[in-house]
C-alpha cells in the first residue's frame, strides 16, 4: 500500500480527485486546469473524471476568477483555484490581500471562505524573473491565510486533503522542480511512496527530516532537499546536521524549531525566497526571542540575495541556494 510510488503532481491530483468524490462542493478552476490538466500537472485526469463544470478552464482573468472563488466559497462551495505561477498573483493580489484573507474576520466570524489557492513556485530552470519566484514569505505576512508548502509527494497529498477540508483560506504552494514532471530535472525525492487512501497531515507540524546535533537547518520545499544533500556531505566531515521541513509557515511549528536549536545550539535558515523581510528573518527572530541563551553562534541565513531571478545559467545558479552554499554556511557556523 504505502509502497506505491507516484510523483508529487499525481499525489496532488489524486488528493483533489478523492475530495471531489467525497464532497460535491469541491471544484477546481484556473487556466488550463481542464483538458490540459494544469501546466504543472496538478489537475491531471480531473477533467476527464469530473467534466467541464467541476474542472473549469478560465480566461486569463486572475482577479476575476480568484474573486469568483471567494464569492463561490461565500455561497457554500469549496473552490480550489489555481494561479498558474505565484508570480501571477500580482494580477489578483487585491482579492487575496483584502478579501480572501479578511472576510472571515471582517464579518465577525459569520462567513467562511474555504478557498484553496494553489500555485507554482521556484526557479532553477531558467524561467527568469517573472516565472521563478517563491513569495510565500509575502503571503505569510498577511493575517488570515494558511500557508502550505509541501516538499514530498506524501506530504503534498496529505496537506492538500487537509487544505480542502479546512474551513479557512489556504494558499498551497507547490515547487515546480519537485512535482516530478518528466520535463524537469529529475530529483529522486519527487517520486515517492504515497498511500492510495485519503489521509490528512495537520497544519503546523514540522517534519524533522533528519536528526542531528551540531546545527539546525530550517527550510521548505526544494531547499529541504538541498539541505539534506548538504547534510550528507557534512556528515562525512563529521558535522551532524538536523534538517527541519516546516511544511506550513502559517500556522508555524515554533516549538519544533526552538527545541531543535536548544539541542544543536546553531541555526541556519535556508530559503529560496528573497532574503530580506521574509521567512528567513522571521525564523531567526523567533529563535532569538525564544532561545537566545542557547545560541552558540550567531544564526545564519542562506537565501536569494535580494535580486530578481536572472535568466542565465551562471547567474541563476549563483543566486538560488545550492547544497554547496548551504554546506559552506554550516561550516562557518560550526567553525
Amino acid at each position: 500500500m504505502g509502497e506505491r510510488i507516484i510523483s508529487m503532481y499525481e499525489a496532488i491530483a489524486e488528493a483533489i480527485a478523492q475530495e471531489m468524490e467525497r464532497d460535491p462542493r469541491v471544484f477546481v478552476m484556473g487556466e488550463d486546469v481542464g483538458f490540459y490538466g494544469g501546466i504543472f500537472g496538478a489537475t491531471t485526469g480531473l477533467w476527464k473524471k469530473f467534466g467541464d463544470e467541476r474542472v473549469r478552464d478560465t480566461p486569463i482573468s486572475e482577479m476575476g476568477f480568484v474573486g469568483a472563488a471567494v464569492g463561490a466559497a461565500l455561497e457554500g462551495m469549496r473552490p480550489i483555484v489555481e494561479v498558474m505561477f505565484v508570480d501571477f498573483t500580482g494580477a489578483c493580489f487585491d482579492q487575496i490581500l483584502n478579501h480572501m484573507s479578511k472576510i472571515q474576520y471582517m464579518s465577525g466570524g459569520q462567513l467562511k471562505v474555504p478557498v484553496v489557492l494553489m500555485t507554482a513556485i521556484g526557479g532553477g530552470y531558467n524561467d527568469a524573473a517573472q516565472h521563478s519566484q517563491c513569495l510565500y514569505g509575502l503571503f505569510a505576512h498577511l493575517p488570515g491565510l494558511k500557508i502550505v508548502i509541501p516538499s514530498t509527494p506524501y506530504d503534498a497529498k496529505g496537506l492538500m486533503i487537509q487544505a480542502i477540508r479546512d474551513d479557512n483560506p489556504v494558499m498551497y504552494f507547490f515547487h515546480k522542480g519537485l512535482m516530478g514532471l518528466p520535463w524537469m530535472t529529475i530529483i529522486e525525492a519527487t517520486w515517492a511512496p504515497v498511500p492510495e487512501e485519503p489521509y490528512t497531515i495537520p497544519f503546523g507540524v514540522a517534519d524533522i527530516k533528519r536528526e542531528g546535533k551540531d546545527v539546525t537547518i530550517v527550510a521548505v520545499a526544494m531547499m529541504v532537499h538541498r539541505a539534506l544533500e548538504a547534510a550528507q556531505k557534512l556528515e562525512k566531515e563529521g558535522i551532524s546536521v538536523e534538517v527541519i521541513d516546516l511544511r506550513t509557515l502559517v500556522p508555524l511549528d515554533k516549538e519544533a524549531i526552538i527545541n531543535s536549536v536548544k539541542k544543536t545550539h546553531r541555526l541556519l535558515v535556508v530559503d529560496e525566497d528573497y532574503l530580506s523581510y521574509g521567512m528567513s528573518g522571521e525564523i531567526v527572530a523567533i529563535v532569538a526571542e525564544n532561545a537566545l541563551e542557547y545560541l552558540d553562534a550567531p544564526p545564519k541565513r542562506v537565501a536569494v540575495p535580494d535580486v530578481p531571478i536572472p535568466y542565465s545559467n551562471t547567474l541563476e545558479d549563483f543566486v538560488i541556494p545550492s547544497a554547496d552554499r548551504i554546506a559552506q554556511a554550516v561550516r562557518e557556523l560550526v567553525g
Binding site: 463544470e53 482577479m63 474573486g67 464569492g71 463561490a72 455561497e75 462551495m77 478579501h99
Partner: protein, 328 residues
C-alpha cells in the same frame, strides 16, 4: 406588468427607510464632529459615505430579491443592505462599533456582512463584482434559481475587475445582474473625465450581454429594468447590465467640501428627488393617502429611533475579541 399596490407602498417605505436611517447617521456622525471635525471621534468614527439621493436604485433592484439571493455592495452600502431587508439595529450598532453590531464591531461602515441575507460589501472599488460572479457560479452549480446582484459606481466601471467579471459571467452564462450606480462622480473626478463612453450600458455589448440605461431617480424605472434582468437571470438566460443615472446629494464622504460640483447642479437633481416625487405620485394616483404616508413616515422614524437607541445602549466588544475570527 402591473405592479401591486402593496409593492408600490413597499418601494416607498424602503426608500424612506434608507433616507431616514442615513439622515440619522449623518446627525449622529456630526454629533461628535463639531465644532472640530476629527474623523476618529465618536459616536460614529471613520469615513462615512452616504447614499442619500440614490435610494431608488437599491430599492428598485432589491425588491425582486429573495433573502437567499446574493448582493455584493460597495463602500456606500447602507442602502443596499436596508433594501435587501437588513436589520437597522444591527447596522446602526455596527456603525457605532458595538458588540451587537452586524459584524461585532469588526467590519464597520464599509464592511457590512450578513450571512442570513447573503449580503456583503467592502471598501475596495470593484472588488465585489467578482464575488457576485462567484456566488452566481455557486448557484448555478448547486442547481438553484437564485441570482446574484453586484452594485458598483460609475468610477468602478473603469477598473479591471469590471471587465473580467462581465466576461466571466457572459461566457459562463451566470445568473448575475450588474448595476452601475452612475452618480456622475468618483470622489471629485467627474465621469466625463474618467470614462471613454457616455454610458456604461454601451459596454455591455463588449460581453454580448444586454445593457440598458435607466433613470435612477425613478424607482419604477429601476424596478422594471431590474425585474426583467433578474427574471432573465433566474430563468438561466445569463447576465445583464443596468446603468442607473442618479446623484449623491451629499459629499463623497461626510466632510467633503464638494467644491468640484458645479453651481446649481445639486438643485437640478433635487427636483428629481426619488422620494418626495414618488410619494406625490402615489398620492396623486390614489395609492397612498396623506394620512397613510404620514403613518409610514412615523413607523420608519420609530424604527430608526429604536436602532439608534439600541446602538447607543449596546456594549463595546472586549478588546481581546480583536484576536478572534482570523481563522474559524
Amino acid at each position: 406588468m402591473p405592479v401591486s399596490k402593496e409593492t408600490l407602498i413597499e418601494l416607498y417605505r424602503t426608500m424612506l427607510k434608507i433616507r431616514l436611517f442615513e439622515e440619522r447617521v449623518a446627525e449622529i456622525y456630526w454629533e461628535g464632529k463639531s465644532p472640530v471635525f476629527n474623523i476618529a471621534a465618536d459616536p460614529i468614527p471613520g469615513e462615512m459615505h452616504l447614499y442619500i439621493g440614490e435610494e431608488a436604485v437599491a430599492t428598485g433592484v432589491c425588491a425582486h430579491l429573495r433573502p437567499d439571493d446574493m448582493v455584493a455592495g460597495t463602500h456606500r452600502s447602507h442602502g443596499h443592505y436596508i433594501a435587501k431587508g437588513g436589520d437597522l439595529k444591527k447596522l446602526m450598532a455596527e456603525l457605532f462599533g458595538k458588540k451587537t453590531g452586524l459584524c461585532q464591531g469588526k467590519g464597520g461602515h464599509m464592511h457590512l456582512f450578513d450571512a442570513n441575507l447573503h449580503f456583503g460589501c467592502g471598501g475596495i472599488i470593484g472588488a465585489g463584482i467578482p464575488h457576485a460572479v462567484g456566488a452566481a457560479l455557486a448557484f448555478k452549480m448547486q442547481g438553484k434559481d437564485n441570482v446574484a446582484v453586484s452594485f458598483f459606481g460609475d468610477g468602478a466601471a473603469n477598473i479591471g475587475a469590471f471587465h473580467e467579471s462581465l466576461n466571466l459571467a457572459a461566457i459562463w452564462k451566470l445568473p448575475v445582474v450588474f448595476i452601475v450606480e452612475d452618480n456622475l462622480y468618483a470622489i471629485s473626478v467627474p465621469k466625463s473625465k474618467s470614462t471613454a463612453v457616455k454610458s456604461n450600458a454601451e459596454r455591455a455589448a463588449a460581453y454580448g450581454m444586454p445593457g440598458v440605461l435607466v433613470d435612477g431617480m425613478d424607482v419604477m424605472a429601476v424596478y422594471e429594468a431590474a425585474g426583467e434582468a433578474i427574471a432573465r437571470a433566474r430563468r438561466g438566460e445569463g447576465p445583464s447590465l443596468i446603468e442607473c443615472l442618479c446623484y449623491r446629494y451629499k459629499g463623497h464622504f461626510e466632510g467633503d467640501p464638494q467644491l468640484y460640483k458645479p453651481e446649481g447642479e445639486e438643485e437640478e437633481w433635487r427636483k428629481k428627488d426619488p422620494i418626495p416625487n414618488f410619494r406625490a405620485k402615489l398620492i396623486k394616483e390614489g395609492i397612498l393617502t396623506e394620512e397613510e404616508a404620514a403613518k409610514i413616515q412615523a413607523e420608519v422614524k420609530a424604527l430608526v429611533d429604536e436602532a439608534e437607541k439600541f446602538a447607543r445602549e449596546s456594549p463595546w466588544p472586549e478588546p481581546e475579541e480583536a484576536l478572534k475570527h482570523v481563522f474559524l
